[in-house]
């Protein structure tokens, strides 16, 4: 295992080099562009800041964007450990956020009640949708890739219908903004000289990562999930209830997706756009892969991908590279990381033959 930990780094390196080539071909300075990405994410100082802004405010808003990506990748990872592909993270995110928005976001509950309630409802609704997918696999043998795709669109259009009919803001054409009490990000909080967005969700994400490390490494359920994921026949032979384990793993995965959903729609944003699914759920599949399918690995990979996407606006305004270049760069990283398994195999074979 350990000897291959280099591969994700090589992947990223190769992608960044490709990025340099493309940016240079467009006649811009690639190194400046990359530095801009860091600056935009609050990881390097900018030349000047607007009033009440600084590196620290950029960094907290970077964390704000990182939170849902980290949780979504965690969701993919948990399912992957049980041998399941959760393509439905985006749908589970929206479902969780929609229910939390309607039940809590539009209520008059005080912040101390509302915020924990949002988190709980998010996790519960996500777990419900995920659990349904797991149950369909267990009871009707419906491939989870298929059922999650179907669920994505069912959630998207059902949520869209309700938003348009009951909760639409006529100006923005999105759902009405939720109340500040239930929002998981403290927006424009004055801290000393700065006005910053403080993402409380990052604490949830950190706890979720820690819980996943513990679950997979230190619990019997984690052991069962790994056994089912590696060989369901051997797991069954050993007396593990394969169907139950799959349903539980999908519930956990859906729960993490639900958390991603509330930190995205009730944290980073405060409304939902009808008929649109966040791309986070799809990106997360590749981010989990890039993170070498380990909870610690995905911290790094989601960090990287968020730096690129979050820093792109600043890069665009400063270096003059189209902001969309950033997502193209992300795409290339993910593409190369998909080849990682092959490189790994070749490396093994090369070592054997030596």
């Amino acid at each position: 295992m350990k000897k291959h930990d280099l591969i994700p780094f090589l992947t990223v390196l190769l992608s960044l080099i490709l990025g340099i080539v493309v940016i240079a071909l467009l006649g811009k300075n690639p190194f400046q562009a990359y530095y801009n990405l860091l600056q935009g994410s609050g990881l390097a100082p900018k030349a000047s800041y607007a009033g009440h802004k600084g590196m620290i405010t950029d960094f907290t808003s970077f964390l704000n964007a990182l939170t849902p990506m980290l949780l979504a990748s965690l969701s993919v990872l948990i399912a992957l450990k049980a041998g399941l592909f959760n393509i439905g993270v985006s749908g589970q995110m929206l479902a969780a956020a929609f229910v939390a928005t309607v039940l809590v976001g539009y209520s008059e509950l005080p912040a101390v009640v509302a915020k924990p309630l949002v988190v709980l409802i998010g996790a519960a609704v996500g777990a419900l949708v995920g659990g349904l997918v797991g149950y369909l696999r267990h009871r009707f043998n419906i491939n989870e890739v298929v059922s999650t795709i179907m669920c994505n669109y069912i959630v998207q259009f059902v949520a869209s219908f309700f938003i348009n009919v009951f909760f639409v803001d006529p100006v923005s054409r999105q759902s009405k903004n939720i109340g500040a009490a239930s929002r998981l990000t403290l927006v424009d909080t004055v801290v000393g000289d700065y006005k910053m967005d403080i993402p409380l969700g990052i604490l949830v994400a950190a706890a979720a990562v820690a819980a996943t490390v513990f679950l997979l490494g230190k619990t019997t359920l984690g052991f069962e999930i790994k056994a089912v994921g590696s060989s369901s026949r051997a797991a069954e032979y050993a007396g593990i209830r394969v169907g139950r384990t799959r349903v539980l793993a999908m519930m956990l995965s859906g729960g993490a997706a639900g958390l991603a959903g509330v930190t995205y729609y009730l944290g980073y944003f405060c409304s939902m756009q009808p008929r649109v699914l966040a791309s986070t759920g799809y990106d997360a599949i590749a981010v989990a892969l890039l993170g070498n399918s380990s909870p610690i690995g995905i911290i790094f990979s989601s960090f990287l991908i968020t730096v690129i996407s979050k820093g792109s606006t600043y890069m665009s305004s400063t270096a003059g590279v189209q902001a969309e270049m950033a997502s193209a760069l992300t795409g290339i990283i993910l593409l190369i990381s998909a080849c990682g398994a092959y490189v790994r195999e070749r490396l093994d074979r090369w070592k054997e033959n030596r």
């Binding site: 490494g217 052991f223 051997a234 069954e236």
Partner: protein, 514 residues
């Protein structure tokens, strides 16, 4: 011009870690049935794979019809009129027999006078004619998934004949067949020979060789031991040459002292996944201190019988009782806890989780019990301590000890790990299915010793084996299974191998009744 249609001279083939063929030379005459005899891993299949173009020899030459050739691919072999029936059939399950046979060499017509179109009608006619010519009795319009194994094998034979093969290689063709089907296959092979085909038969079954082969090459651990004229040799001599020494697997075994009844199976009927009844109304019991061996030809329901006792298959009727407790409907986990250990036939897909570490695999059946875990929380140290102990005790060799990923271990050590795990469960019943398949002789002896040791400790052992020698040497009681039914149960001492063989073929005890 030599008399030989095939000459393989001084062939050597190495794989990482082993020499699969070491300076092997064989010559085969046109029109003869030439057998390759040897144990698992003796190098028979490797040798034939080179003749069929799947590997290239490291050293040596291949001469076909007097011409030196370098066979680069199975396609090339086909062009040289060489055909092979593999042990695992290569058939498309949702295609008809005719489609499977003609694939790659389809008869075509012009559809609408424009497109190259498959001529289904002509394909069917051609295959029907071919089948009739060799007495193979197949209906070209039947779909593969609806026909039985024996018929599928005949489709494979037709594939070779359709490609005008003159040299036909059969890799262990009888392993999956019932006795009647074997008889039919041997007739087909005879008729192919009468038609002028040359046949090479890979097998480790002496009776078949005796029945139809002209000559027999014996391989042992990659080396050619001897080439014999079958008519002038008895099976005992062949067997001794095959294993490279006197066949003496007999194990020192004190007289049996049976304890109480541990396993009782009554009127058990089991269906497999395709809803076929594969175990039919089977009743027997196993006592403590007894090795009950189920003898039978592969595919007669013995694996399903073991799966049903262990809980992997649900019986459709009958009861299973363990230590006086009805476990017919109990879950796998509760059976394990009640005292069943199970060494399954498929050690790589069922017995082990190949991508987990050795220590995880050794604790696979007790990870949820103290000291391995406390409630839902696992104690990692207990895993390693336990696993280190077992590695030492059972001499399991692996690259990185407890941390080794099981996939990287050798087959013999994987089996050792399974046996270690199952014995350490200290169950009252141990089920062994084909425990020595594919292992070398040292490992086989070791496993046999352990099985007897468990019996001596008073455990009940249910042994299921396809190797008659293994059954004869280990069993206290023998039950012979044929076509899903236990045909005969008797004290091992009262049966000769010949009698057991007759029951295995479904013809046992006939002359008694007559």
């Amino acid at each position: 011009m030599s008399d030989y249609i095939i000459e393989m001279n001084h062939i050597t083939k190495r794989f990482p870690g082993i020499v699969a063929n070491d300076d092997v030379s064989i010559q085969v005459k046109k029109g003869e049935i030439y057998a390759l005899l040897g144990e698992n891993g003796a190098g028979k299949s490797t040798l034939m794979s080179m003749l069929f173009g799947m590997y290239e020899p490291d050293e040596g030459e291949i001469i076909i019809r007097g011409e030196k050739v370098k066979i680069e691919s199975p396609n090339h072999a086909t062009r040289l009129n060489i055909g092979m029936v593999h042990q695992h059939f290569k058939l498309v399950s949702n295609y008809t027999i005719a489609e499977n046979i003609v694939m790659g060499m389809e008869p075509v017509k012009k559809g609408f006078g424009l497109f190259k179109t498959l001529d289904q009608k002509r394909a069917n006619e051609e295959i029907r004619a071919l089948s009739e010519k060799f007495g193979l009795e197949v209906d070209p319009t039947k779909v593969i998934e609806n026909i039985n194994v024996s018929m599928q094998q005949r489709v494979e034979i037709l594939k070779m004949l359709y490609r005008e093969a003159e040299i036909l290689i059969f890799d262990e063709p009888t392993a999956v067949l019932t006795p009647q089907e074997i008889a039919f296959l041997l007739e087909i092979i005879e008729s192919l020979r009468r038609d002028g085909k040359t046949i090479i038969l890979i097998t480790h079954k002496l009776e078949e060789i005796k029945k139809i082969a002209d000559r027999c090459a014996i391989l042992c651990r990659g080396k050619l031991i001897d080439v014999l004229d079958v008519k002038e040799t008895d099976t005992k001599t062949m067997a001794n040459l095959m294993v490279g020494r006197e066949v003496n697997f007999s194990v020192d075994k004190p007289a049996s002292e049976y304890g109480r009844e541990v396993l009782k199976v009554e009127h058990l009927t089991v269906q497999n996944e395709d809803k076929f009844e594969v175990v039919k109304d089977v009743s027997f019991s196993v006592r403590g201190g007894e090795i009950f061996a189920v003898a039978g030809v592969s595919g007669n329901g013995q694996v399903e019988l073991a799966d049903a006792v262990a809980g992997l298959l649900k019986p459709s009727s009958g009861t299973i009782t363990l230590n006086g407790k009805d476990i017919t409907h109990a879950s796998i986990r509760s059976r394990n806890l009640e005292g069943i250990s199970y060494i399954p036939e498929d050690r790589q897909n069922v017995g082990l989780v190949m991508d987990l570490s050795l220590s995880d695999n050794l604790a696979l059946k007790n990870y949820f019990k103290p000291p391995f875990s406390k409630g839902p929380v696992i104690a990692g140290d207990a895993f390693t301590g336990y696993s280190d102990g077992l590695i030492e005790k059972y001499d399991i060799r692996s690259g990185q000890g407890s941390e080794t990923i099981v996939r990287s271990m050798s087959g013999g050590n994987q089996q050792k790990a399974i046996i270690a795990r199952e014995i350490e469960l200290d169950s009252s019943l141990l089920i062994f299915v084909q425990p020595t398949r594919g292992l070398d002789i040292g490992a086989i002896e070791n496993i046999h010793r352990q099985i007897v040791e468990q019996r001596n400790k008073g455990k009940a052992v249910l042994l299921i084996s396809l190797e008659l020698d293994e059954v004869m040497n280990l069993a206290d009681t023998i039950g012979v299974i044929y076509n899903g039914r236990i045909e005969k149960i008797a004290d091992a001492k009262t049966l000769t191998p010949g009698e057991v063989g007759e029951f295995m073929m479904g013809v046992g005890g006939r002359h008694e009744k007559a």
